[in-house]
Symmetry: C2
Subunit: 298 residues, 2 copies
């Protein structure tokens, strides 16, 4: 595999960030504080893993159609809105995120709730805007919007968040932990990959392979996240470290120990890569991302 | 006009409620507390004005296509999510809504935020689901999703909410009050009507007429709401009365006096009806709703 994944990720991160800068409402757009709060969290230096998965999945089938960037950004909007709401005092009550004070710490809880709500709607707005998405079949566009909604909603991310707050300070079985993560993190990652596949006109077999890849990557990502929460420093993570233990959250290292969890994450990454059998070198970015996700430091 | 609007509204309210009951995830669907919290606010006896506007707008052009109900419900989902978030302690801190304790009073702030988020996503999910919306052209479906997003988002409802919380305890000019309401309430009502027009294949002239109707109705609705906040009792309103004055909110009665505001609302309703020139008796439900909106008691 000749692709340097760190270079690839950096290039695509810049592509996503440039597209955001070019298409977000300009600074000062009314209501100014809303757009400022949205930009504050959105442009705080996220890794852009979800949008890059959309791009890489589209690339793995063929050359990406132009519409891939607004759709990719939509997944980042959903992810960022969920972080803003998750950090609220009524939820996880976190003070730091991506190395900066959390949204509500800067703008207050009311504006933070609305900034999250605004980002949430923007995800669907960008996927449906004729000026941004105009070179794909409308029925594909509707399928992508449905993927986004199912990944984000009650049977996806929002449902996982509810299960997660219910599980705090409770003993949950391993099976339940898997369910929480499959929903909270897994479904949106899966949707991001499937949206990329839809954008590139994947056939049914490719679509299933990419779905299987995404499910493994989502699980690997979450296990690695749990490991980082234990081993990372606040500087590396950009947020408070070791918060899971303090909150009594069940984690993969809690069940398997640190080394066991690391191995489990690597197994999932290996399995994700094996799902891409038959894909040529255009899928190397997906292969590299699976490995990156378990070896990253933040 | 032979149509009895109260009977019409009651019939359509029941149609909407039956459709909701038949298509919401069944009670007990995991996570149970999330779906329970969503049902709690959604099935709390709302007037269903937004979905009925979608239905009536579709009817005004021709017989409604089947897909009108999921789309109509999507507008109720957006409206209900906004009420749940608006009632939170971080926003208006209201204890009663539709005659019952507010969502966060029953389920706590964390679940209430997530119930709102879940409803928000559901709006887009229902509009994009192939099993619910399957007899309209996909490009029309995308247009409807865009209307929903623009009505709900930063340049619509969410933007209006931000302007509204910023204006509390400030002296705002009448022009600014108009802007707040046009966004907070007006844009979603406008989108609900336009979605109905799109569903029925309105031509451009009809679409513009219905848009103008909706803008007048939205303004009439908000003025009437301000009047009711002064004159209504908690029993009539299902929520605390006279809260605007307590919070130092600028209102139409504040600018025009009660009688002046009532007259202004009636003028807007009359103007809304005049926008429907050339529409036959199939638009009588829209005409009746314009009048109902300014004469209602809750």
């Amino acid at each position: 595999m000749s692709l340097d994944i760190e270079t690839y990720l950096e290039e695509k991160r810049q592509t996503v960030d440039r597209y955001l800068e070019a298409h977000l409402p300009p600074v000062g757009t009314s209501p100014a504080v809303l757009h400022e709060a949205i930009r504050y969290s959105l442009l705080a230096g996220g890794k852009r893993l979800r949008p890059i998965l959309t791009i890489a999945a589209a690339e793995s089938i063929g050359s990406p159609p132009r519409a891939v960037l607004p759709v990719a950004c939509a997944f980042e909007f959903i992810h960022t809105y969920s972080l803003i709401h998750d950090d609220l005092p009524a939820m996880d009550n976190d003070d730091f995120r991506r190395g900066k004070p959390t949204n509500h710490k800067v703008y207050g809880d009311g504006v933070a709730i609305l900034a999250g709500d605004g980002l949430h709607t923007m995800a669907f707005e960008w996927c449906s805007r004729a000026d941004l998405v105009n070179d794909i079949e409308p029925y594909v566009q509707v399928q992508i919007i449905q993927e986004l909604a199912l990944g984000a909603g009650n049977h996806g991310m929002v449902g996982g968040q509810v299960l997660d707050i219910q599980a705090e300070n409770q003993r949950v079985a391993l099976e339940e932990l898997r369910t929480i993560h499959a929903h909270k993190t897994g479904k949106l990652i899966r949707a991001a990959v499937r949206a990329g596949a839809l954008l590139s006109g994947a056939d049914l077999r490719q679509f299933d392979q990419l779905t299987a890849y995404a499910e493994d990557v989502g699980l690997a990502f979450q296990i690695a996240d749990d490991v980082l929460n234990v081993t990372g420093t606040r500087e590396e993570l950009g947020k408070d470290a070791n918060t899971d233990a303090e909150r009594g959250k069940q984690t993969y290292p809690g069940f398997y120990g640190l080394e066991g969890a690391r191995k489990l994450a690597q197994d999932r990454a290996d399995h994700a890569i094996s799902c891409l059998k038959g894909f040529d070198e255009k899928a190397d970015s997906l292969r590299g991302m699976a490995q990156y996700i378990v070896s990253r430091k933040r």
